[in-house]
């Protein structure tokens, strides 16, 4: 069946029936090409989603004090809730088994000056762990450390764009900047993948912020990084018990959602990922449809090819072709064409995806790609289905009596 002679016969047939070869090859190549490109776009969409929502750590719960909306235990509504250092310590103590790290965040905004340059930047009083939940990447120097917290040091870590704005080409390290009237030494420059706004931020130790704020122990926001191994479901349970604990400590009604608010980053991420999964599913379905259309296309062509060759096959049978050799002639020819053109379509598709790269970013498609395994699987699927689609009419053709085939003029 796989002798050299056999292949020579097939190659001759392929060469001399260019239109037929082109039609079946083109159908397969275009099917695989569209499948690869669409599937790649699906992956590109997922990439975009991950890029948008994946720049911060996901195992993070933000706890923010607010204003009560219901009277409770003798307290009136509209009472302002505030956190202080003791709350942070209590949380750490009571939920140690869930917690990876905690950090307060005291957000302010104000004029920042260096020599003649000045601009408004948000500044955040934070703890050392804040680096983790923002996934802050240090370019130069260091982040806020435990010593800064203890010493209430007047040090600042500035964003890449802050450094660019204020210092131009000058090295900001060790320079002093004026934040809201106090002088801070720059000890580090960071970058953040979350976009430009995230790089126009200044971090200072939260204890320093408290000192400037008339030496209070108040905290704005508490950020808790829970242990990743408790998972999303575990984080919900943790959040609920934390809520109960804080509500009773701060005398907030359990029904009051506004007194203390919680934001689980995993929550939003979960939703966004679901959206990405649904989008990818839709794109994959379309891609699968293309493959099915390709299979139907190649089946049609095979039926046509066999019909067209009925007489030729009759002659071949009269000359001594066995049914097996008739089937193998048709099948090997179709499998050869679909294999070659399928892989050509696949390679062109992958090449197109690779060349696109970031160019479709404004259509929410970033770095489209397809696993080679998936592409090869789809191609082989099409080849196998093309083979089956060719086998059925080939078998019928092999069974036709040569006399019937020859009479057909």
């Amino acid at each position: 069946m796989f002798s050299r002679d056999n292949w020579q016969e097939i190659f001759e047939t392929i060469q001399k029936n260019k239109l037929r070869t082109f039609l079946s090859g083109f159908t397969v190549a275009i099917g695989i090409f569209i499948f690869v490109v669409l599937f790649g776009f699906g992956n590109g969409l997922t990439n975009t989603f991950n890029k948008f929502f994946g720049d911060d750590a996901t195992n993070v719960i933000f706890v923010s004090p607010g204003q009560t909306s219901v009277p409770y235990k003798g307290y009136k509504a509209n009472r302002i809730i505030e956190f202080d250092n003791s709350d942070l310590k209590d949380i750490e103590k009571n939920f140690a088994m869930f917690i990876d790290y905690t950090t307060p965040r005291l957000s302010r905004s104000g004029l920042v000056k260096y020599n003649n340059e000045s601009n408004n930047y948000p500044n955040r009083g934070v703890g050392p762990a804040h680096q983790y939940n923002e996934k802050t990447i240090m370019m130069f120097g260091r982040y806020i450390n435990q010593n800064d917290i203890k010493e209430k040091a007047k040090v600042a870590v500035i964003g890449r764009l802050v450094a660019q704005d204020l210092f131009k080409d000058k090295n900001p390290m060790g320079e002093f900047i004026d934040i809201g009237g106090s002088s801070f030494k720059v000890v580090g420059v960071f970058q953040d993948e979350g976009g430009d706004n995230e790089e126009r931020v200044i971090y200072i130790p939260y204890t320093t912020r408290q000192l400037i704020d008339k030496n209070t122990d108040k905290l704005n926001q508490i950020i808790i990084g829970f242990k990743p191994e408790i998972g999303y479901a575990g984080s919900i349970a943790f959040q609920n018990s934390l809520k109960k604990y804080l509500q009773s400590k701060k005398n907030v009604s359990p029904k009051d959602e506004k007194g203390i608010s919680f934001r689980n980053i995993g929550d939003g991420l979960n939703r966004n990922q679901q959206l990405a999964v649904v989008l990818k599913l839709i794109v994959s379905l379309v891609a699968l449809g293309t493959i099915i259309a390709g299979i139907i296309g190649i089946s049609n062509i095979m039926v046509f090819v066999v019909k067209e060759r009925t007489k030729e096959l009759g002659v071949r049978k009269a000359l001594g072709a066995t049914p097996k050799s008739v089937i193998s002639t048709i099948l090997l020819e179709s499998i050869f064409i679909t294999t070659v053109s399928g892989f050509i379509g696949m390679i062109i598709g992958i090449a197109v995806l690779n060349s696109l790269g970031e160019s479709l970013e404004k259509y929410f498609i970033t770095d489209p790609y397809i696993d080679t395994g998936v592409a090869v699987f789809a191609t082989i699927l099409l080849i196998v289905c093309g083979g089956i689609a060719g086998y059925i009419p080939a078998k019928r053709a092999a069974r036709i009596k040569p006399i019937v085939a020859l009479r057909d003029e």
């Binding site: 001759e12 047939t13 029936n17 071949r316 001594g320 072709a321 066995t322």
Partner: protein, 233 residues
């Protein structure tokens, strides 16, 4: 060579059956050149198809070179056709995308003859039919007579026991018909057994024996004095 006894064949046409061959007894010796004559509907093509294993018989027996031809499966029939029989059709039935040489070599391909030997043999037979120079031409570039000669070369290439020709001159004018018949006579002179189905009396008289079929039975079976086709060429 060919031994047929009490052959019956009928076709189902909807609800009626058409009894085409009604008990044929017929035998052919080696080296004979037999014309099977009859008007259309007499059953001559059916007889030839059965002889060619292109169709199956309903009743009776058929021995070809001592081998009983009965209840053959497709594969076996194909092998026997390849080994025993060469076909020449009215409409030539050359494969249109293959050139003359490749057409002639095709039965050898199915005999699993090696490529080189196949080419040599095919060229030899093309030479015999006088078409060596046309070896690389496609059938569309050949005249009707040339096509039929290629078809004859193809039928001969497999070195069959019997050559079956179904109206070999049916699509040709009389001059080319005689050329083809001349070729057939020469092949017969070389000792090959040939059966020719025709409805043209002049073609039939170029054979050595005429079998006349009418309504599914043999009405006449006589030896004739062969008219040589070469005198008309």
């Amino acid at each position: 060579m060919i031994e047929i006894k009490n052959l019956h064949k009928s076709y189902k046409m909807g609800s009626n059956t058409l009894h085409v061959l009604k008990g044929i007894n017929f035998s052919v010796e080696e080296g004979e050149l037999v014309a099977i004559m009859g008007s259309s509907g007499s059953g001559k093509s059916t007889l030839l198809n059965i002889l060619g294993m292109l169709d199956e018989l309903d009743e009776g027996s058929y021995n070809l070179d001592g081998v009983p031809i009965k209840n053959l499966n497709e594969t076996k029939a194909a092998q026997y056709r390849n080994k025993f029989l060469g076909f020449v059709f009215q409409s030539f039935n050359l494969i249109n995308y293959k050139n003359a040489l490749e057409n002639v070599a095709l039965p050898l391909y199915y005999q699993k003859v090696g490529r080189k030997e196949r080419q040599e043999k095919a060229l030899k037979y093309l030479e015999q039919v006088g078409l060596k120079e046309w070896a690389t031409h496609l059938p569309s570039e050949l005249s009707g007579g040339q096509k039929q000669r290629v078809a004859i070369a193809r039928a001969m290439a497999a070195e069959p026991k019997v050559l079956l020709a179904d109206e070999p001159t049916g699509a040709l004018d009389s001059k080319t018909s005689y050329e083809v018949m001349d070729l057939i006579q020469k092949i017969n002179d070389a000792g090959n057994t040939i059966l020719v189905v025709t409805h043209e009396p002049d073609i039939a008289h170029m054979c050595k024996r005429i079998v006349h079929l009418k309504d599914g039975v043999i009405v006449e079976d006589k030896k004739v004095k062969q008219v040589r086709a070469s005198q008309y060429v």
